[in-house]
């Protein structure tokens, strides 16, 4: 698949949240936790989905649904584990799909018409054959950064 494209390609992990398909460069994903037990944190910033247990550590996991102002998920969610300079954190998504190969040539920046919050969170999109794959960069989802970018 990757041979088809002339420009550099990368592997992205596709995740579904609501009706949108998002892609995270696979190199940034430390691990995928399938429907882990979660612990809500009362009084936490709104974008914190809860705590998840990962290899003896308790990770703070950001909820993409909450971040985007969507309804809470009705079924248990999957968690992607990322690493940031301060440690690890998680990201709640509805479900994790397959790994896709995307080429740089198919990537386009965020449209100017996108709402400001999403402008901040998304890193453009890849044009797949039949749909768009929204690019997510883990560093934009770091809880510390979110706390300063979107104070409650």
């Amino acid at each position: 698949m990757s041979d088809v494209h002339a420009s550099p390609t990368q592997e992205v992990c596709s995740v579904q949240v609501g009706d949108t398909l998002y892609g995270v460069p696979i190199a940034h994903v430390l691990e995928i936790l399938g429907k882990p037990a979660t612990q809500p944190v009362p009084l936490a910033p709104y974008f914190v989905g809860g705590l998840v247990h990962y290899r003896g550590e308790v990770l703070t996991a950001v909820s993409l649904r909450r971040l985007l102002g969507m309804e809470p998920a009705k079924t248990p969610e999957d968690v992607l584990v990322f690493e940031n300079p301060d440690g690890l954190f998680g990201l709640f998504v509805d479900s994790v799909g397959e790994v896709l190969h995307v080429s740089q040539a198919e990537h386009e920046p965020n449209p100017a018409t996108l709402e400001a919050r999403r402008q901040h969170l998304f890193a453009g999109a890849w044009k797949l054959k039949d749909r768009l794959l929204v690019s997510l960069e883990p560093e934009r989802l770091d809880p510390m950064r979110l706390a300063s970018a979107f104070p409650a």
Partner: protein, 777 residues
């Protein structure tokens, strides 16, 4: 930085620490050859390895030190304070260079300081001719080539000569690479074995070629081989990681145990797994423990330097050095302890002449003590100095506007002492280089509380101060009670839990009392503020009549009841840090994973109390002795004649029925013989007059303490002991003096000081015998 250099840095720092300890010891035992040998070894090791690694500055410095130490060790020179100061100064320079290597990879340059240092050490070698005992000529000749500014070659010659020097004492230093001089027969075998694996200096250092400094042959004379021989350095990160993995293993074990409970064979294996896991966990925890001597060892130097700088004489005693504490905790109390010792010496210990004038030995004593107490380690800093004056603290606190004057007046001793922990508090008259900048005690408290510890202070003016740090044994694991609130688990640290109260469905509504919005619970007659966890955390509210449990917590003197839905088992929990965004909420001290695999947030009782505005109560421990609680007092309610009066209960010594005959008269005033003393008596009830002259008639006397004297008061009847609140005078905001509200009636409080003392009574026959009475009950 390569492994070799890193190892060298670690090793050299340890060597210097050891040297520092020995040097201060040496000051008290100048002739101790073992100490000298130990110091010599430390410096020598550094020198040996630096030459090998090509750190010429370190080499030159340590070489100069070694020459001086050689003389000392061989008894050619006696240690005196000048030498010790010189060697300590050398150590500081060496530390600086090591630091520079650590940060920049290079030694840094400071030729002037170096040559000054070397010259100083040279001078010390020759300076004190009177104590040079034997072979002065030889010593001078041998050390001559080590002058600064000489070529590297000549230093090499000096080194060789000092080695011969060493050999004559049976201390074989490690062979220098590239310097394979003919070894003496006695150590030939050893020396060969040691020097063999070393590559030529030109060879690229590789991990396998590390100089085996730890395995350096000990001189046969030195009886105490270092513990270093059987130990291994492990990165703390690795231990942390192991700890986590063990935690993980514990959880997996729990799940396996649940899954296999039906199969007998598996159950057996499961139990075995259980045991091994528990053992493993304990071992890993143990691996993180270090004796407090690691920390204490730096204090003799600190005390010495401070005492010198302040012209005071201070002796440091250390106890319980073998007490072990988690490595990270040891690090965490390093600064608080240093602060405390500085304080003790700067503010506590007086100048020698002042001490002598007060009948104390000129030399002050600072005692550092560590011991286990339950699941805590207590570290005490005790000084026999001036102590703290309660009044001065009160004044200072008001002056610095840390408390309003009115509040300061009402505070008791314990509360006043707590003021020293407020930021910006300092009683030092002048800011010295040592302390007095108003930072210190608050830093001590903050740092200790950060690791779940407590700081207590006890001080008596003129006698000294004890500062007690109460440190949990390990940061990683704390005993906690798991509670539920709205279907979620929370962990409450046992350290702050005092008792539990359960309320069944019917009871909640009647037993929780409300004062406007404040919920209260009557615990043994006293009102305890309640905090509802569900409301605090803005969870879905619970029904008001639902059963609940109250966990009664004491967070640094703030007592309150935490209302939760239910209780689970107490559990030893592993504290996991929370991300910064969640720490900012403040109510959580961390998170944990419970035995059943669920997670729980660890509550921070101190923060909850603070947020709920629970005030400090002055109760010593569990609600005893609350008479000093601001605004609330217990009174003895009495009837005198036909009116009611209140006596503060804490002043009442005894209530007695006595025959009229025991009451005598001194002049016109009635007096009572009471336990061999004579009390002035206030005939408030006019009992004595009414009773006439019948000597058999009895009267009730309440004996009270007023300051340091005792007084008596006749009463018609004792009615009750009851609690009352002081009344505020309308509009003034101040407390109305002399009256209180008892049984819903305004009652006047008897003013004991209004009873005239016996000194005013003329010609009393018992005057000479009168002494202020001691309080007895």
């Amino acid at each position: 930085m390569d492994d070799l250099t890193r190892e060298f840095l670690l090793e050299s720092r340890e060597g210097l620490d050891r040297m520092e300890r020995c040097l201060t010891d040496l000051e008290t035992h100048p002739g101790d050859t073992e100490l000298l040998a130990e110091i010599f070894r430390s410096v020598h090791t550094i020198k040996g390895t630096t030459g090998f690694l090509g750190f010429s500055r370190l080499e030159a410095l340590s070489h100069a030190g070694e020459n001086l130490l050689g003389l000392l060790r061989d008894g050619k020179l006696a240690a005196h304070p000048g030498i010790i100061s010189g060697l300590l100064a050398l150590m500081d320079i060496l530390r600086g260079v090591l630091q520079s290597i650590d940060t920049t990879g290079a030694e840094g340059e400071s030729p002037q300081a170096d040559s000054a240092m070397i010259a100083r050490l040279e001078e010390l070698q020759h300076g004190d001719a009177s104590v040079t005992l034997a072979e002065p000529v030889l010593a001078a000749v041998e050390t001559a080539p080590s002058h600064p500014g000489k070529s590297r070659k000549s230093r090499g010659a000096g080194r060789r000569s000092s080695r011969q020097h060493g050999d004559s004492q049976g201390t074989p230093p490690p062979a220098e690479p590239g310097e394979a001089g003919p070894p003496k027969e006695a150590e030939a075998a050893l020396r060969d074995a040691e020097s063999q694996p070393r590559p030529a200096p030109a060879a690229v250092p590789s991990p396998s070629a590390r100089p085996a400094t730890q395995a350096q042959p000990e001189p046969p004379a030195a009886a105490t081989p270092g513990a270093a021989d059987s130990t291994l350095r492990v990165d703390v990160e690795l231990l942390n990681r192991m700890m986590n993995l063990v935690g993980e293993l514990v959880l997996t074990r729990n799940q396996i145990l649940q899954a296999t409970s039906t199969d007998a064979n598996f159950a057996l294996l499961g139990r075995r797994l259980d045991m091994v896991t528990a053992d493993l966990r304990e071992s890993v925890m143990k691996a993180r423990m270090q004796p407090v001597s690691h920390l204490f060892s730096r204090f003799p130097r600190l005390v010495r330097d401070l005492a010198l700088a302040l012209d005071k004489r201070v002796r440091l005693e250390m106890e319980g050095q073998e007490t072990e504490l988690d490595k990270s905790l040891l690090e965490a109390i390093r600064d608080p302890l240093t602060h405390s010792i500085r304080n003790a010496i700067d503010h506590g210990i007086e100048m020698p002449d002042v001490r002598v004038a007060q009948g104390k030995p000129a030399e002050g004593l600072v005692r550092l003590r560590a011991c286990h107490e339950g699941s805590h380690v207590i570290v005490e800093v005790h000084d026999d100095g001036a102590g703290m004056s309660i009044e001065r603290i009160r004044q200072k606190a008001v002056e610095r506007q840390l408390v309003p004057p009115q509040r300061a007046e009402q505070m008791n001793e314990r509360e006043i002492l707590q003021l020293i922990f407020l930021p910006g508090f300092s009683t030092a008259a002048a800011v010295t280089s040592v302390s007095g900048r108003g930072v210190g005690m608050d830093v001590v408290r903050t740092n200790v509380e950060k690791i779940g510890g407590k700081v207590e202070v006890d001080s008596h003016a003129g006698k000294g101060t004890i500062l007690r740090l109460r440190i949990p044994l390990t940061l990683a694991i704390i005993p906690a009670l798991i509670v539920h609130s709205r279907g979620q688990n929370f962990a409450v640290p046992q350290a702050s839990l005092t008792e539990l109260v359960h309320m069944s469905a019917g009871e909640t509504d009647s037993r929780i009392e409300w004062l406007e919005n404040a919920a209260l619970y009557r615990l043994r007659g006293r009102l305890l503020p309640l905090v509802f966890l569900d409301r605090l955390l803005q969870q879905a509210p619970r029904e008001r009549t639902a059963p609940c449990d109250i966990a009664i917590l004491n967070a640094d003197g703030r007592r309150f009841g935490l209302v939760v839905d239910g209780l689970a088992d107490p559990e030893e929990i592993v504290v996991k840090p929370l991300a910064a965004v969640l720490r900012e909420i403040g109510y959580y001290a961390g998170a944990t994973i419970l035995g059943n695999g669920e997670m729980a947030l660890i509550l921070n009782p101190g923060a909850i109390a603070q947020n709920a505005n629970v005030s400090l109560s002055s109760e010593a421990d569990d609600g005893l002795g609350d008479e000093n609680r601001a605004g609330h007092h217990d009174f003895l309610l009495v009837e005198t004649g036909n009116r009611r009066a209140a006596l503060p209960l804490e002043t009442v010594v005894r209530i007695e029925r006595i025959p009229r005959s025991r009451i005598e008269r001194a002049g016109s005033r009635p007096v009572l013989r009471f336990e061999g003393q004579l009390l002035p008596l206030d005939d408030a009830a006019s009992e004595l007059i009414d009773a006439g002259d019948d000597p058999e008639a009895q009267t009730t006397v309440v004996v009270c303490r007023d300051g340091d004297r005792h007084v008596g008061m006749t009463v018609s009847q004792v009615l009750d002991v009851t609690g009352g609140k002081q009344l505020e005078q309308a509009g003034s905001g101040g407390v109305a003096g002399g009256i209180t509200l008892l049984h819903e009636r305004v009652t006047s409080i008897v003013s004991l000081s209004g009873i005239p003392s016996l000194e005013c009574v003329a010609e009393s026959p018992a005057m000479e015998d009168f002494q202020p009475a001691e309080g007895q009950r």
